[in-house]
Subunit: 455 residues, 2 copies
């Protein structure tokens, strides 16, 4: 007899993952390496170590070790907010009248409000272990900056966040949370870096961009003794740390002998989706089980569904290494959109390669339909979702409705990466009917793709 499944499955503390899963190690054909923008040769350990912490560089380059131990100090921190619950969406199923079984892994029950903390604490730990004074980073929507502030506060590291100026001004609450954790938050572009000063001179009154904030954070890290730069998505190391999401989700499902049919996640840089699918995709790669995976992206920034699989710059300023990925071109400027965490022109190389191999599907959804799903979900499941996460909710609902039509009792798992408490301006626009959808034209995307580097 099957055990009755509770509304929320919590693992016991001693069931928490003791090692991260390195998905690349399960792939026969590996993701392509990062290239040095000057030499177009693969980035070496030495080159990467000038910008990143040593242990993190090791993780970045390791594509053969399947499981990498989570240091005890990080596991102790994880215990403060993990295990995250795997929720059986009984109320959503009932409201939809679907025979599908829906589960979501909820990563929003921590003060940073999202899954970003899983990697932030790991990166802060290695920085402290290396004896560094502090780290620098950029933040757009603010989730990553908040998570890193919390992590640095825990390990006594200085944390310098370059926050895109428009966000700094429009999201003062995010900024205050970071200050509560002792972080130094600077609106970017700023006069504290050469690149910031140059941009301000060229474009006085600019409200900044993520590309510019990255450049400032990298300059700050490399020009100060005892500092390194850290990043919250796209990198291999980040996917590694985020595998804790998928490992917990799978352990919770295994406890009740549940095997998912479809696994869904939103995808910006790919850190959440890469983490969620890791152990399931590993089984698929090993031929042990089959699953459908769906990456959901905004129709306004459709790197997987309309981009090209090619080497491209990771940042607008073209100072970072090149990565082979699905990209819309580093010059592509996504329209203003309330899922700030998904406005990235590329996609982490691992997910790009899996998608290229046909192991994963992708779907692009429009903003208003995402907020319709978000509000519906909030009302029936009682959790106010982040706009990013709501992309996954949209497709999970669509798939559950299909099951209603066909009568299939599929099991759907999706990632609920965070809460929307700091996104109420977006909800307000939605309520007031002022939210718009934007789909870039083929011409617009073609123009940006035409400028891809010739590698």
């Amino acid at each position: 007899m099957k055990k009755e499944i509770p509304y929320k499955i919590y693992l016991e503390e001693n069931e928490l993952p003791k090692a991260w899963m390195n998905l690349r190690a399960y792939m026969d054909k590996k993701p392509a390496p990062l290239l040095n923008p000057a030499t177009l040769q693969p980035m070496t350990k030495e080159e990467l170590s000038q910008v990143f912490c040593e242990e993190l560089v090791k993780q970045e380059l390791d594509d053969t070790t399947k499981m990498i131990e989570i240091p005890q100090e990080i596991r102790d921190f994880y215990k403060m907010y993990r295990p995250a619950p795997l929720v059986r969406a009984y109320c959503l199923e009932k409201a939809l009248g679907t025979p599908a079984h829906i589960y979501y892994k909820f990563e929003g029950n921590n003060t940073s409000g999202s899954h970003k903390l899983n990697s932030a604490i790991a990166q802060a730990y290695y920085a402290q272990k290396q004896g560094l004074k502090g780290v620098t980073t950029e933040t757009g929507a603010g989730q990553w900056g908040t998570a890193l502030s919390m992590a640095c506060s825990y390990f006594g590291l200085d944390c310098r966040v370059y926050m895109v100026k428009v966000s700094y001004e429009q999201k003062p609450f995010r900024r205050e949370v970071m200050r509560t954790y002792g972080a130094n938050v600077t609106p970017s572009p700023s006069t504290t870096t050469a690149v910031g000063r140059k941009i301000l001179e060229e474009f006085p009154g600019t409200t900044g961009s993520l590309g510019c904030a990255i450049s400032e954070a990298v300059e700050a890290a490399t020009s100060m003794d005892g500092y390194r730069y850290v990043l919250g998505s796209v990198l291999n190391q980040v996917l590694l740390h985020q595998s804790v999401i998928g490992l917990e989700a799978k352990a919770a499902l295994d406890k009740y002998d549940v095997k998912p049919d479809i696994i869904i996640g939103c995808a910006g840089g790919g850190s959440n989706l890469g983490g969620l699918i890791a152990p399931f995709m590993a089984e698929k790669l090993e031929g042990k089980a089959d699953y459908r995976f769906i990456a959901v992206e905004p129709a306004s920034c459709p790197s997987l569904t309309r981009g090209k699989y090619a080497y491209d710059y990771c940042d607008t300023g073209k100072v970072c290494p090149l990565s082979k990925m699905y990209t819309l071109g580093s010059g592509f400027i996504p329209s203003a959109n309330h899922a700030g965490g998904l406005r990235y022109h590329g996609m982490t190389s691992t997910l790009s390669e899996l998608y290229a191999q046909g192991l994963m599907e992708a779907r692009a959804v429009e903003q208003t339909s995402v907020f319709e799903a978000a509000e519906y979900f909030a009302r029936v499941e009682g959790i106010l979702p982040a706009p990013e996460s709501s992309h996954a909710i949209r497709v999970a609902i669509d798939e559950a409705v299909k099951c209603k039509e066909t009568g299939e009792e599929k099991t759907i798992v999706f990632g609920l990466t965070g809460t929307g408490y700091f996104d109420m301006v977006a909800y307000e626009k939605f309520h007031d009917g002022k939210m718009s959808d934007y789909i870039p034209s083929d011409e617009e995307i073609g123009k940006a793709l035409a400028k891809l580097p010739n590698v």
Copy 2:
């Protein structure tokens, strides 16, 4: 051998309380009854039923039934966000270097952000069961309005919230969360009620007050067919529903054979503290165990520590029944303060009577020291607390530091009622050194107390 205590103790779903605890039923000397403001006679069931739902009136007046069953529909809703974790504050203990063992019951892991949802869902359930169309209420800081919106959305009830105008304007995000749940939010005073129009005529440009919002909500409820008024604190029924906090906390402690020495909670109207202490106080009243209880209030609104135990009006407008309670006088206007949930001139009658009998202690703390504790807690425990909850944190830390001095290994439990995501304006003031403390003079309190009704 004692079991090792995890960072977070979660009850299993089948261990969730099946009945609420009615603390008054354990008291030999009962709290005094509510009085009709016109006749000064105890309010009857019939009188109360004109304003409140029938089943809730029954609960309000019942001071003999010890345990009252939680209807299955409410228990199903509770499963969406309960059990709430009882957290062992290992990191806080370590940071303080105290031999004390500190636990907190965290009620902030739901979208309303506080414990208010525990009673909101019960009140909405009974309203729907009675066949009502909807309910009206007032909200100041916004937690209660948010919780009620979620509850009404779940049961398909119309929800009309009168929000103090200054909060409506300063907390647009709270308002948007309520709108997400389909609530109708009106800034008070408004032109939708006679009392609102009268106040606006008398005081054009007023930013409103809780007293005024209550009057508007009561008028709206009693002038529309199929509506009743609901309230989020002070009432006996609310303490009853909030006992779920204490019952869960005690069950979690019992699992690990832990007996607390000191139990601490913030106290505004008293709903959180009354709920947290219920099963422990019941044991104390029965002579089965002894505990110290500490109610923490703001020094700017010190009803227990500096008020008088007397019959007083529950609202500024003097339209509601009189309650015997510790009060600063219904005309006392607390200074602006960032713990909006604690700015109430009185205290629920049950806690007042327990305090009068010497079964509970009280302590008043100043605002800046509360925010110092809040920030310290956020950094070491990773949860950004609400200003209200931070009053309890302040005293929990103070008691833990005393243990460090004396070497005593006491067990301290406190209630962490909610998160501070919507209170970042207050944190900003604190960071910028712009936060002030205010302690009312004896003269000021004496003036308000001189106007107590002559009962």
